[in-house]
Structures are given as C-alpha cells and as structure tokens.
Subunit: 377 residues, 2 copies
C-alpha cells in the first residue's frame, strides 16, 4: 500500500449543481418525476482546453463526492485519496477528476433526507425508488453542465463499478474508457439477500417509524446492525483472521454478553460510527437500486453492436461479496461484443475492501491503461 | 436425497431427565452453579443388554431432541429423520439412538426461559453463560443415568459436531467412535462476527428489554433479522442461485420496499416462522457458547496421549460457514496424535445445509463406518 500524502491535493471543497427544476423534472425509471435535483461534486486537477482529459470517479455504496484531498479541519482525506492526486493512479497533473455523490445519497445530493418541495418537509419514503440508471442519468446532466462531450474514463469500485457499466450501457459514445472494479453486471440472490437483511434490520427499528424520523433520532440500532453485516462481507475470512484471529479485549472470557473478542468490538465500533454519518433511508434506497441493477446479457452492449470504449476490468481473488466469477462473466460478454478488454484478477487477501486497499497493484494497472487510452485518438 | 418415510419410526415422544438438584448443582465452566437441570431427550431403537449399541446424536444450533420420527399430530418429522430409522444411516434396527436438547435450549431443556428456582420467574439474563463443555457435561449425566458406560458413537453436524469434539476432549474413554460433520475446533473471527451481529440484532429490539420479556411479546423483529442472516450463511452462493436466481414474486419490479425477489420472500418467511418456535435469549446463550468453544491444538487430545476413539470427519466443499479447511485442520491434529481418522470432503453445492441434505453420501459413509466400529472389540 502506498502511504497517503496529506500535502498531495491539499484542501478541497464540494460544489453543487442543481437541475430538473419544475416543470422539467427528471422522469425516473419508475415513471415518477423528481426535481429539483442537486448533485454534490468535487473536482481535482484542471480540465484541458479541448476538454478531453476528464475522468469520472464513481463511489461505492457508502461513499460520497469527497474522493480525494482534505476538507478544511478534517483529519481524514477523501475515500480514494491513495488513488487520486499528483503522480497517483488518477494523476491530477494530467487529468481532471470529477466525483459526485449519487442521486439518493445523503452527502449533499438530493435523497430521501432532502426537503420535498411539495410538502416543505423531508421526503422520507415519499422519495421515489431510484435505480443505478437514474443515478447515471443525473451524472450525465452534470457532465453536460461541465461542457464535457466525452469522458476519457469512467472508473469505480463496487456500486461505483455498477455505475461505470451503466454509463457504458446508456452513453457508450461518451465513454472513451471504463474501469469497473470489484463489481458485477447484476446482483446474485446472495447479494440481494445481504441487502434485504440490512433493510429489514433498519425497518425493524421502531425509531425508523416508516421512514419518518427526521428531526427526531434516526434508527441508530437497526442501521448499526445493517452496517455490521456489511462489514463482514467487505472483509475476507482470511483478512479477519489476520487482523483479529480470536484475540480477546481482556485476558479471559467475560462470561457476559459484553464484548469478549476484538472482532466484536471492531464491528460495534464500525456500526456506531456509521450511524453518525449516514442516513437510514438512503441505506434503503441505495441498496434497492443495487438489487434492481441489471446490465447482464444484451443489456450492456446490444447484440450486434460494436462500441469503441476500452475496458480495464479488475477483481480480487478473496472478494466473496463480488466474486471474481462475476467479473469473468462481464469480460466474457464484453469480448463476445468484440470490445477491447484488459482483465486482471488481483491476488489479494483483503476481500471486497481490496478495491480501496490494493493501491499499488491498481495504480500500476490504471496508470498504464490511462496512458494507452490517452494516446488513442 | 432419500425420501423421508413417514412410517419408518412412527410416533415418538420426548422424555425428561432432571438432575443437579440442590445442594448438588452443576458447577459450570464460569464457576457459577446451576440446578436443577432438566434435559429433554428422545431415544429410537432398543438398547442391547450389554449396552454397547448406543449412539448419541447431537443437534445443531436451532435443533432439539426431536431428531427422528413424528410427534403426535405433527406433519414434520424430526430434524435428522432422513438419517435415523430402520435401515437408515443410524439404523435403529441395530442401534439405540439418543438425542437430547442442549443445556441452554428452549425445547424442554433448562435454559434462560426456564423458571429460576431462586425467584420463581424465568431466568432471562440471570441464566449463567454456558459453554459447549457444560452442555456435554450435562449430556454425560444423562448417559450415566441410562447406564451406558461407553457410547458406540457420538455424531452431529455444525454445533452438534462441536459437542462431538468436546465429548472426545472430556470423556475419550466413553467414546468408541466420533462423527463430527461440517464443524470446527474453534470459531474463526468471521464466524464470531456473524454470531455477534445476530446477537446485536436481538438486543437492538426494544422488546428484548434486557432479556426480561417472558409473559410479554418476545423480540420478534430482532430475532427474525438474526435468523435471516443465519439462513444466508447456511446456503451457498450457488445453491441460492439454483433455488432463486433473480426470480421475482410479481412480473415486474414493484418500485417499493415490498418483497420484489423470491429470495427476499424466502428470508422473511424463514425469519417469521423461526420466532414462533425459538427463544431469543437462547439465541444469545447458544451463539455465545459456540464462540467460546475451542478444542484446538492440544485441547482435543493432549500432546503425547493416545486415544482409541475412531473418527469419521465429514465436510462439504461449498460450506463457507464451516469451510473444509477447518475440518482439514481437525484431521491434521487428530492424525498428529495418531488417531484412526477417515476424512471425506463431500462434493455438494448446498453449503452448510448439506449436512442435513446430502443424505445419500453421508448414509453410505456412516453405515460403513458404524459397521466397522461395531465389529471392533
């Protein structure tokens, strides 16, 4: 792993783009209308005059627009700071990197915690169900607004990778290259099952109150349980063994239901901190969007159609949440459509979290890929 | 899979054995005393005069004493009915099979829902933390009570397999043969993590009320969530794909948080039915006992000691909750101690549930093993 360098991008600030003002609301996949829509986004580096050096970085489930650099007075950098910055994989000396919080999010973009203009109160469950395609169609408005006709690259891991594939399905002519990482063309029933249990944990909490909890306490216990389940799926059996084994917090078993094992303490801590920064309804909406997502078979590139997008597909051998066979299947479909595909199944023990941690391997692959793509007319 | 045959054992009835009456309470591993203790148990077949044909079948986490045959007016047979009966793997024409509900359980054995003699009210969290060894020490009292000096075999899957290994560790001279199936010498941090999330889901439910909910509603929502998590871990990615794939309950996405996918409906159903038959506090106590369990290294057979117990170790290739590498490690340790071990890693797609479903393969192995063991003096 490369060390993150606090000086690299320095202090960054989010920006906001609002569109779909009445009467031009966005018509969603469900058929419902939504507007106005605000997307929170950040940019790093400089857009060149020809506007040909733009890279769209797309975040995973619990991510946000703050992909790199530091916010004023914050200790922690953005979620992909190891990968985005001067000299890094997404080299901000060369490229203009954009990251937006997804539609439905809770970090500055319009979502269930936003004010519903029809009522003046937060949407709650009146927020319409959104899909990954709706998220991507909103991002397209932002890219149009920035005056970019074609993205040099669209890249992201996990749910970010789903958005990458949806960009290819919706706007192939706008995507010069695509880097889907640790992702899938569609959720398997096991992936849906984990999402559904998380949703049930949230909805089982009386504080959830049918989604109407704004201004009161949010369903912290239920959301914490959901997040704990998530964390198990992000790590691998092996990485948990390496990190925790059966280490105890104290010298002996407590013979109580207090925290005995370090892994228990870790999960409780992760659950408790998550609820302070994430909205429970957004948890429901975004997991649903992932479960509905499906660009399998003909849906990513229609049969008989040839597209010019170049692909770098990355997966990780120990990732059991988005197992390598799903990336393999993606590669098979893309090659059947005669797309230009490089595929790498990285030997990592970190499980799904590897897409955030295997910086060195990813950087080498991505740097080389972007140089090649940049050199093509 | 063999078909279960309703006629095979016919109607069976539980029996009850009570011991550890004041002032002879059982001293638990924690150092606390517990008594009186009742174990619910069932027996199938006939104990021979020499009392040399007794097999102790041990149940998994949510099992009970009702391993085979039918209870009066019930449609469903016991949990291992496919394996226990005339002519079956555990052939009741030859063997006398005993199954007892574990200490801490909620199906007739003393557990947190039992009356605390000190207060006249259900124990709740005043029930002491118990261990797998405490369960086995209670079973030993039952076996003594039945006048059996040596068990022909001790067999069980999952937590039943842990009890098998604990029997070997505690009373090797009483165990002529042992069949630990789909189990481990100790929980990995991932296994502890899944248990801990289940416990947190129960305890997050306000109806849990610090364990004091008897006479009121039990924490059904929290317990259902815990069970849903469990069910994901009992199946494999592949068996979920085979059973559900992405099949929808209706023709199209609902664009609501109702049940869209069949797998969601299945999990909700499994959660909802579980809470009608299982006690939430027992869920906490028994998962804790599994997490504390550890017969690794020297603990199952002390270094330098030789025991006569013969082993048949069975695991399943698609079991990711108790992965084959854990059975492999068990076999390695047993062979280091020069024990007589047969090991079979069965090629199944059913995941952990395979120990209940791969009846044909298991029956062939177990029948042959028991014949061999019976013929040895």
């Amino acid at each position: 792993m490369l060390q993150s360098n606090k000086e690299s991008l320095g202090i960054v600030k989010p920006e906001y783009f609002t569109f779909a003002q009445s009467p031009d609301e966005l018509i969603l996949e469900s058929g419902l209308k939504l507007g106005p829509i605000t997307l929170a986004y950040e940019t790093y580096g400089v857009l060149n005059e020809e506007k040909t050096n733009a890279i769209l970085a797309l975040h995973a489930f619990s991510g946000d627009a703050h992909a790199a650099g530091y916010h004023q007075d914050e200790e922690k950098p953005g979620w992909w700071n190891d990968m985005i910055g001067p000299g890094k994989a997404f080299d901000t000396d060369k490229y203009f990197v954009i990251c937006s919080n997804v539609l439905g999010g809770c970090k500055g973009s319009t979502g269930p915690s936003s004010l519903n203009p029809a009522t003046g109160r937060p949407y709650g469950l009146d927020f319409p169900i959104i899909t990954i395609s709706d998220m991507v169609r909103a991002q397209k408005k932002l890219i149009d607004h920035l005056g970019i006709k074609k993205l040099l690259c669209v890249a992201g891991g996990s749910m970010g990778g789903m958005q990458v594939l949806q960009w290819v399905a919706n706007y192939p002519e706008m995507v010069k290259s695509a880097i889907p990482i640790a992702t899938t063309m569609k959720h398997s029933p096991q992936q849906i099952a984990f999402d559904e249990v998380g949703r049930q944990a949230v909805m089982a909490d009386p504080a959830w109150n049918g989604g109407d909890y704004y201004g009161k306490a949010q369903p912290e216990r239920g959301l914490a349980v959901a997040r704990m389940i998530g964390h198990i799926t992000y790590m691998s059996d092996r990485s948990m063994e390496d990190k925790f084994s059966r280490k105890l917090k104290e010298d002996n078993y407590s013979f109580t239901f207090k925290t005995d094992f370090e892994v228990e303490g870790y999960l409780r801590y992760r659950g408790d901190t998550f609820v302070k920064r994430f909205d429970a309804n957004t948890y429901l909406y975004i997991t649903k969007a992932m479960d509905y997502f499906d660009v399998s078979g003909d849906k990513i590139i229609p049969s008989g159609k040839k597209i010019d997008t170049r692909f770098l597909v990355i997966s990780f051998k120990s990732d059991w949440l988005y197992p390598s066979y799903q990336s393999n299947e993606l590669v098979r479909i893309l090659r059947m459509r005669r797309a230009d595909v490089t595929y790498c199944d990285i030997n990592s023990t970190y499980g799904h979290d590897a897409f955030l941690l295997e910086v060195e391997d990813e950087s080498r692959l991505i740097k080389h890929f972007l140089e090649k793509v940049s050199s093509v007319k």
